[in-house]
């Protein structure tokens, strides 16, 4: 009796959240799908015509799409590689007995709390400026020619900035996972005469497999939509060299005001994100059972 009442209450408490998220997901998505079938430019409002899949054909065969897809994959792949290859050793290091660990951990995590527009502009100017930047001074110090990052290697510059922002995230999650590793298991292995390297390969690394997967999936979801860092540094250029899919759609929508084409692109982005999301949701779901 009381249970029935509770069930009813529970349902009514849950409804607002579900309804809001449902509307938030379905209404804009439906509109995007609808717009994607129209020839619709804001500069030429009132002349919308139905064009079927023409926008998709246009978007997918546009050389800008291929270029930005490539940039997106390079950006996501490189940042993942850097943050994990650096994150594992840093996490292992912070798992050692370290004097003043709290302060070190704070320093390592700090970049994650810096807003994207700040990190991008500080890196671009104070560090990467070809004449007065700190990197230029350092390379002259060792006798090398300073790199003009945003002209000669703009995508690499973006990758460095974004990696710096996400390294703390990878480190923190891997560190949390390491700390839950059974000390006794490691000690037992050491007792048996296992060397540090084999302890790492046979005990630590398998234990890290799942957190690494989680880091890869979550970072991918956020990295697919990197926007502010590009917006304030390169504006997608020079040419299309730093335009990723998110930035391409933005410029079609709010710079060229091509609603139809941008909507088609938006749906492509949704499909790409959903492929990643599918795997993440499965991993999280499996965890809910336990």
């Amino acid at each position: 009796m009381a249970t029935q009442q509770t069930q009813l209450l529970a349902r009514s408490l849950l409804t607002p959240a579900v309804a809001l998220l449902f509307i938030w997901m379905i209404v804009p998505l439906a509109m995007t799908i609808y717009f994607s079938t129209l020839h619709y430019n804001l500069l030429d409002a009132g002349s919308e015509t139905f064009v079927g899949l023409e926008n998709f054909r246009y978007f997918l065969t546009d050389p800008a799409f291929l270029a930005s897809l490539k940039n997106t994959l390079v950006l996501v792949g490189s940042v993942l590689a850097i943050t994990i290859l650096l994150g594992v050793p840093v996490a292992l290091l912070l798992d050692q007995p370290v004097v003043g660990l709290n302060i070190v951990r704070l320093m390592v995590i700090a970049p994650f709390f810096v807003m994207p527009t700040v990190s991008a502009l500080i890196w671009k100017n104070l560090l990467m400026h070809p004449v007065s930047g700190l990197f230029a001074w350092l390379s002259r110090l060792v006798g090398a020619e300073p790199i003009d990052w945003f002209n000669d290697a703009p995508l690499v510059a973006i990758i460095l900035i974004v990696s710096w922002q996400w390294l703390p995230f990878a480190t923190l999650i891997l560190l949390t996972a390491l700390q839950s590793l059974d000390e006794e298991q490691k000690e037992a292995a050491e007792m048996d005469g296992a060397r540090a390297l084999s302890t790492f390969i046979y005990i630590t690394l398998p234990h890290l497999a799942r957190p690494i997967t989680v880091v890869i999936l979550i970072e991918t979801i956020f990295l697919l939509t990197v926007f502010a860092e590009i917006f304030v540094t390169t504006g997608g250029g020079p040419g299309l060299q730093t335009t990723n899919i998110a930035f391409l759609i933005y410029s079609q929508a709010l710079v060229q005001f091509d609603v139809g084409n941008a909507s088609a692109g938006g749906l492509v982005a949704v499909v790409i994100a959903n492929i990643v999301a599918f795997f993440l949701v499965r991993i999280v779901g499996r965890n809910l059972e336990g």
């Binding site: 938030w24 660990l101 390592v108 949390t176």
Partner: protein, 276 residues
């Protein structure tokens, strides 16, 4: 003998950890140092690390010329408002799923998670047009609303994982004693949930403070929070490095402090309980 090895190990790992931590933190430190330089010193080659003419005039200029406080207040209203509203919607929902789960609860949770996976750029066009037609462009209410919805799945998930940890026996005991659901909420549940509520709010506030997709696209001046304010330094004015640094330091300082308290919650909130 064993002790000596251990000591050496501590020295080595401590040195390595400090060096690495310093390296990662350096860009922030450099920004803070630059904010106290004159514009001339900021550009100097070779750069001066500590022995320059220390000045606080950049901070005064930032406020005078670009009205820093206006944008700081926007940031507080937008991040705070979206956090509070998200909590109002999420607490009942998470409570209901944690304490009265049905067989669909798991599916609902995963579905909520999947809404977070949708790339914002996929719905940029309709949101922009809706905002334009309802006069919500460059309004704080509009930003509060969209950041609230964007973070709602994370908030519900975090609260759910916290509520799950509250032992159910206590609730049953209260119910046996004749407590109504309302009393149960206020006297039994609330005190145990406070730490979880606080850390959820903290993380959500940080995420909203740093959000830079919707704020850049939907606000220009009146409602612009600090993310947009800093972006305005990407124009030629960005050549004023000391002022850029002062403005940036002011924009991230509060969050660095809050972030220090939210380290552990960060893992819980952003991995949806997949890493413990």
């Amino acid at each position: 003998m064993a002790r000596m090895v251990t000591n050496r190990r501590v020295v080595v790992s401590t040195t390595a950890a400090w060096c690495f931590g310093f390296l990662i933190f350096f860009p922030i430190l450099w920004m803070i140092l630059t904010s106290f330089k004159t514009e001339l010193d900021a550009f100097a080659t070779p750069p001066s690390f500590l022995f320059f003419h220390w000045t606080t005039e950049n901070y005064a200029t930032v406020q005078e010329r670009s009205d820093y406080f206006h944008h700081a207040i926007n940031s507080i209203i937008i991040a705070g408002g979206s956090t509070l509203i998200a909590m109002l919607i999420a607490v009942p929902a998470a409570w209901s799923m944690a304490f009265a789960p049905t067989k669909r609860t798991k599916d609902i949770l995963l579905w909520m998670l999947s809404t977070k996976m949708m790339p914002p750029v996929g719905v940029l066009v309709p949101i922009y047009l809706i905002y334009r037609d309802f006069g919500l462009l460059d309004s704080r209410a509009g930003l509060v609303f969209i950041l609230c919805l964007g973070n709602l799945p994370i908030v519900i998930w975090m609260l759910f994982t916290y509520f799950k940890e509250i032992p159910k026996d206590i609730l049953e005991a209260a119910r046996m004693d004749g407590a109504t659901v309302g009393r149960e909420l206020i006297y039994v549940l609330a005190p145990m949930a406070v730490p979880g509520l606080a850390s959820t709010m903290l993380l959500n506030f940080i995420l909203a403070w740093n959000e830079a997709f919707w704020t850049l696209n939907l606000s220009t001046l009146q409602a612009a929070p600090l993310t947009v304010f800093i972006a305005s330094y990407s124009s030629p004015e960005g050549l004023f490095w000391a002022k850029l640094s002062a403005a940036s330091t002011l924009a991230i300082a509060p969050i660095l402090v809050l972030g220090w308290f939210s380290q552990r919650q960060l893992v819980r909130g952003l991995t949806f309980g997949a890493v413990k």
